[in-house]
């Protein structure tokens, strides 16, 4: 049968030749492409050291003023000021990093509602279906219970179709308020307009959209995401003594991460004239399988790069094993928004640092916005969420996500008069 199954030789050979040519043509085109992000060694300006030091000090002092109630943090900020004033950006970065590693103790949110918050309200949360969204739903339930409200969770798989279906349900059932995360206005614009007409209060998280046109409150804005750039920069400068060649990993699918990327790049340039910056765009489809190999390839072709800066921790899942297998034992990883796997990486030393995501603080802030609207008082401007840089030495749990401010619930309850 085999012999008879073979077709004319010239057909198979010709097609294979097409295959070869097509593949090699692609390789030539791809490798000749200029879209690879070029390595950007941060140019040293003549006054870079002074500028970097003052910027670090300003950032550190500013953040310290808003978040550091503890003596340790104040002391660290003071040290940063001193170091910056001395023109030592590495010392400033180390002082700032020490401050970021302190667990925040207060939410940056001090205005009491001041009026009775109505009980018995019915609110809905549109769950995107991920583990993070499940956690967010649990936190919102906890906050709603404090206020005596009823929470309805509308579960979706995060697809535009299911998210729109959930908003259709909102239109039918008309709850008093709706909370949602990370869905751009372009997907649900007409539903937001309808919600505004129906008098439904809407609070959202993690968007690049603006407040208005149906959205009463947004926390986790692009501007707030940008405030994490200096945290990354301080850590890599401090850890490397100002000699870090870094590669920033990002997901182009999420516009909010562009702000973070720009912020990190600018911070690094300002604070460290001897540091290097590069970038890899990771396609969303490559998460979980191809990303580690892509990163290992980059590191092998850029042997001076020893620091991986991940815009989100999900990118580095599976990476520690790939680095070990490739013999790249001296690479350090910092990310943001750890899940339990990343927390375990931190505890085991496979990941050096991670900026914890303030799930609790941001979900409570969204509920606070609805509470103020229902109480008839102005909604507070979005506060700067607390920042906590996790390392092996201070990670509090590897099995559960946690509030950054330990008594977040109690601090919000106090503002609500509960």
């Amino acid at each position: 049968m085999n012999r008879n199954m073979r077709g004319p030789r010239h057909k198979g050979r010709g097609t294979m030749a097409v295959s070869v040519l097509a593949a090699l043509g692609l390789l030539a085109a791809a490798c000749g492409s200029d879209s690879k992000s070029a390595t950007t060694t941060v140019a040293a300006a003549t006054t870079a050291a002074t500028t970097a030091a003052s910027t670090a000090a300003t950032t550190a002092a500013s953040t310290a003023a808003t978040t550091a109630a503890s003596t340790a943090a104040t002391s660290a900020a003071s040290t940063a000021d001193t170091a910056a004033a001395d023109g030592d950006p590495v010392a400033a970065a180390k002082a700032a990093t020490a401050k970021y590693e302190q667990r925040p103790t207060t939410i940056d949110f001090t205005t009491p509602v001041g009026k009775e918050i109505p009980t018995g309200k019915k609110i809905a949360f549109i769950n995107c279906g991920s583990s993070a969204c499940n956690l967010e739903g649990d936190i919102i339930k906890q906050a709603a219970d404090v206020l005596g409200w009823t929470l309805q969770v509308l579960n979706t798989d995060g697809s535009p179709q299911q998210v729109q279906n959930a908003w259709e349900q909102v239109g039918r059932e008309k709850p008093d308020g709706v909370l949602y995360t990370a869905v751009p206005r372009s997907q649900i614009g007409k539903y937001l307009t309808n919600a505004a007409k129906d008098g439904i209060a809407v609070a959202a998280c993690c968007l690049t959209d603006e407040v208005g046109d149906g959205i009463d409150y947004i926390i986790g804005t692009a501007e707030q995401a940008g405030k994490l750039g200096p945290v990354y920069a301080s850590w890599v400068i401090a850890d490397s003594d100002g000699e870090a060649n870094t590669v920033f990993l990002t997901l182009p699918d999420f516009p909010i991460l562009k702000t973070l990327e720009d912020s990190y790049k600018a911070s690094l340039a300002e604070q460290c004239s001897t540091c290097g910056y590069d970038k890899i765009d990771i396609p969303l489809a490559d998460l979980g399988k191809n990303a580690p190999d892509l990163i290992v390839s980059f590191l092998r072709s850029h042997p001076d790069t020893k620091y991986i800066v991940a815009s989100v921790d999900a990118i580095v899942l599976g990476l520690p094993a790939a680095l070990k297998a490739a013999g790249l034992d001296d690479i350090k990883i910092i990310g943001e928004g750890p899940n339990t796997t990343n927390l375990q990486y931190l505890a085991s030393g496979d990941q050096a640092a991670s900026i914890a995501f303030p799930y609790y603080e941001e979900m409570y802030a969204m509920v606070d916005a609805l509470a103020r609207k229902f109480a008839g008082v102005p909604i507070e401007a979005p506060f700067d969420p607390p920042i906590w840089l996790l390392t092996k030495d201070n990670v509090p749990s590897t099995t559960d996500l946690f509030p950054l401010v330990l008594d977040t619930k109690e601090q919000f309850a106090k503002l609500w008069g509960k």
């Binding site: 199954m5 294979m16 593949a23 791809a30 499940n134 490559d286 399988k289 190999d293 980059f298 375990q344």
Partner: protein, 378 residues
Amino acid sequence: MNTTSAATASPSATFGVRPAAAATRGAVGRRIRGALSVRKVGGVYVLIMIVVYFSVTVPKTFPQWDTVRQILNGNAVSAMAALALIIPMAAGVFDISVAYTMSLSGVISAWLVVHTGLPLGVAIVLAVLAGTGVGIINGVVVVVMRIESLIATLATGSLIQALITMVTHDNSISHSKLNGSFSKIAQGSLQGLTLPILYALVMTLAIWHLQQHTATGRRLYAVGFNRDATRLAGINTNALRFSTLVLSGTLAGATGVVLASSIGSGSPTAGTPYLLFAFAAVFLGATQLKEGRFNAWGTIIAVLLLGTGTTGLGLAGAPSWARSMFTGIVLIAALAVTGLQRRSVGGARRRSWKRPANDRDATQHPTATVQQQEGEQQ
């Protein structure tokens, strides 16, 4: 071809070499040329060209042992996932649930290690058996309930994912307990080569042996080529199709445990990114060595071809879209080859059946192939 007449006409016969020896050498030569023909191992030639290309364009990093290590280490789990698909595919059965089964067994193994005092070996066996259980359910749905395998395994895959989500709430299972012996399953290495390479090699040899050296393997191909004809030849096609799904579930279960060990946690969605690549590798592999047949070594060639190309592109600093485009183009080209081969087979078969019955090769019909090959083995 009449080898005797060919030998008689050869120059060696003219110079006094014994015709039988010359014929043997001629047959060996033809066999070697056949084995090395572009149509048989075209992927290997493409692989060689890719290696040469990147060795020239990325001379500092590509032509190194580290690159070989990276390609092998980075694609071992992918190869295992693809190998899990081969047996059902050879029998004409799709198993979409393989990726979800990988997630399931990974989560189960991690959960057992973290939350129970079971020995690691028992935890692994139970996780693999969970994959076997999925295979049995698939078998019931596909064979007993007679639902098309593509749809049926898609449905069972959704059920598996729902089960995982229900139990884990989509949270990864992680704990320091997973850093010990469990992590060594995938992260242990010999001379820089991680253990999944060994697992993939063992799977390849086992599947190759099953397909090429057992009657069951021949029957599986026959079922895949023409199920009705095979059934009419007296072979229990339902039992074979059922068993392929059980086998793929078991192999996917084992692959899931290795993947969980590699990640260091039981991730509820760890397996799904491997689905498309596994099918891509299996289809591409079917164009290699056995021409239109899903086979183990062809699949390994496919995995290495795709892995070498994408790793080379990464080392060359190509943009991220280039990797996807490379994979897509290679697949289209490979499937075009397969399509041409099948059309050629169809044409050849139609032409041969126009000849008198006693002039036909007995191996032209799938069932005849099975009967003849089984006779040869006996």
